[in-house]
Amino acid sequence: MKRHLPKFYLLAAVALCWVFALFEHSISPYYYQIIIYIGINIILASSLNIINGLAGQFSLGHAGFMAAGAYTSAVITSSLNISPETFISYPVFFISLISAGIVASLLGLIVGIPSLRLKGDYLAITTLGFGEIIRVIIQNLDCLGAARGFTGIAKLSDFFWVFGFVAVLIFLIHNLINSTYGKGFLAVRDDEVAAEAIGIDVTRYKVIAFVTGAFFAGIAGGLYAHFVTYINPSQFGFLRSFEIVVMVVVGGMGSVLGVIISAVLLTILPEALRAIAQYRMVIYALLLIIIMLLREGEFWGGKIDFRRILKKRPAQT
């Protein structure tokens, strides 16, 4: 029984999503919107956590993957002229989301390849550059509405879809961490040279991290596009990427639960504190600095992180 426990949780979570989805119309639209954004941000932050936290490859281009996914799925459902609440809309939406993920993960593959040669700062700037290039290309494609944006996307995302994918992603990350791959990621993150020396294929692990992370960012993009029904390139600028990075850093890079908590908090807080909404980014920035100065990222801590705190790292020379 114990071996199947995560699978059981996954099924239960999806079922629960479906039950909650039945009541979604009784929630006020404003709260409903926040709840959906929470779900989307959990997917974005957790998927970035695979790249940044588990594999230790600092990526600043997550909004680019999200954009690719958003546009891919929007093009599919719009060209098939799917209207919501029809039976056919469900499989088509599912396929469009999966294709969104695939297109984004192909881009992740393209980004992952240079990352084999780069690390740290260079990788951060390169991924940021990739994100910007994706955005600029979309801005110049007239068939995608260029800078005017893509309108008339069917409103297909709902509670069930968003949190269904949240459940799947968490299930996947949970299994990933406890698998050989997860250990491989951690080895690559902690010391690339040592990992390579004991025979871990560093290249492969980095690419897998990018592809998996990008896949779910693409799905998050698709869910987002089918919730707001209007997307334009400026929604996917690098500030978006920074926001996702802040969620991961505040949650503690590599900590699954921490990142989920911080995604929830950082989505709710700006809404709850409307009065200080203008200070939001300043507060984010200060959070980043203070967390780094105080405790190197392990803010909430998790199973993995406690170990890292206890085991003092040697000072680098």
Binding site: D121, I289, M292, Q316
Partner: protein
């Protein structure tokens, strides 16, 4: 032909601004081996210092525009160098022994803080940068227009780079900087105060960024708190292109990026302006990560 010449002059003037910013990146990287993400925002602060000080200074001084322009530049350079040194002291110094990623995230935090703090203080709307030195047309024919401001930009940039060269290669502090960038430990053993050398590097880099900001403002007079992001990123790309850590390389890289960008804007499409620099970055990192003039560093275990 005239259009080509026009683009060339514009490219050189934009490129020399990038070069000034790139020098700051490259010096800081040379010494600390990390990218000061906040450098572009120090540049932005420089522009706003100019914006607020210029009317005041030109009123007190009256008469000579050149003297007033110079005063504004010196003031902006002083204020930004203080800012740069403060950032280093508060945010980067405590993290010096920590992993690179920690410092990188902190730098992003500082950058976001300056950008959005700037939006709160200066307001998010674009402002018109005051003309420090009135623009006269040096050449003004039907299809070739060269304003005095491009000339001022190019000349000022050259003068500043020559001063920097003298500081880095002829003074005691410059020698110390080069020693620290070569090997922290050995430099410390030779009695060099590492902390003060690093502070000095930040002062030097930030003051160049401030000067670049004023030049930028005199060519593109619309300034806003987020204006530092793209020039900062492009200057960083210029530094990588030239070979990060190498000050001649930064100047060369700046010119190449400036020229490429103007030619792409002029002959292909202005919308690709921002993407082209990133494409250059990716290509250079893939094919020659050490840059044009940089030297290859093997990873030590």
């Amino acid at each position: 032909m005239n259009q080509l010449l026009q683009q060339f002059i514009n490219g050189i003037s934009l490129g020399s601004i990038y070069a000034l910013i790139a020098l700051g990146y490259t010096m800081i990287y040379g010494i600390l081996r990390f990218i000061n993400f906040a450098h572009g925002d120090v540049f932005m602060i420089g522009a706003f210092v100019g914006f607020y000080l210029a009317p005041f200074i030109s009123k007190t001084i009256g008469g000579s525009v050149i003297l007033a322009g110079l005063m504004v530049m010196v003031a902006a350079m002083i204020i930004c160098s203080l800012l740069g040194a403060t950032i280093e002291r508060i945010a980067y110094r405590p993290l010096r022994a920590r992993p690179k990623l920690t410092v990188l995230i902190t730098a992003i935090g500082v950058s976001l803080f300056l950008e959005y703090g700037g939006q709160l203080i200066f307001g998010p709307d674009p402002k018109l940068f005051p003309t420090l030195v009135p623009t006269t047309m040096v050449i003004d024919t039907k299809n070739l227009v060269i304003g005095s401001n491009s000339i001022v930009v190019i000349v000022t940039a050259i003068v500043l780079m020559l001063i920097l060269r003298t500081i880095v290669f002829k003074t005691k502090m410059g020698t110390a900087m080069r020693a620290v960038s070569y090997n922290h430990k050995a430099a410390a053993l030779m009695g060099i105060n590492i902390d003060s050398v690093i502070s000095f590097t930040f002062i030097l880099g930030s003051s160049l960024a401030a000067a670049a900001a004023l030049l930028y403002g005199s060519v593109y007079p619309s300034i806003n708190p987020l204006m530092g992001i793209f020039p900062g990123l492009k200057a960083f790309i210029a530094a990588v292109l030239g070979g990060i850590g190498n000050i001649y390389g930064a100047a060369l890289g700046g010119l190449i990026i400036g020229l490429t960008e103007t030619f792409v804007t002029g002959y292909i499409s202005p919308t690709y302006r921002d993407a082209i620099s990133f494409a250059i970055l990716i290509l250079i990192l893939l094919f020659k990560p050490s840059g044009i003039m940089g030297k290859f560093e093997a990873e030590k275990v």
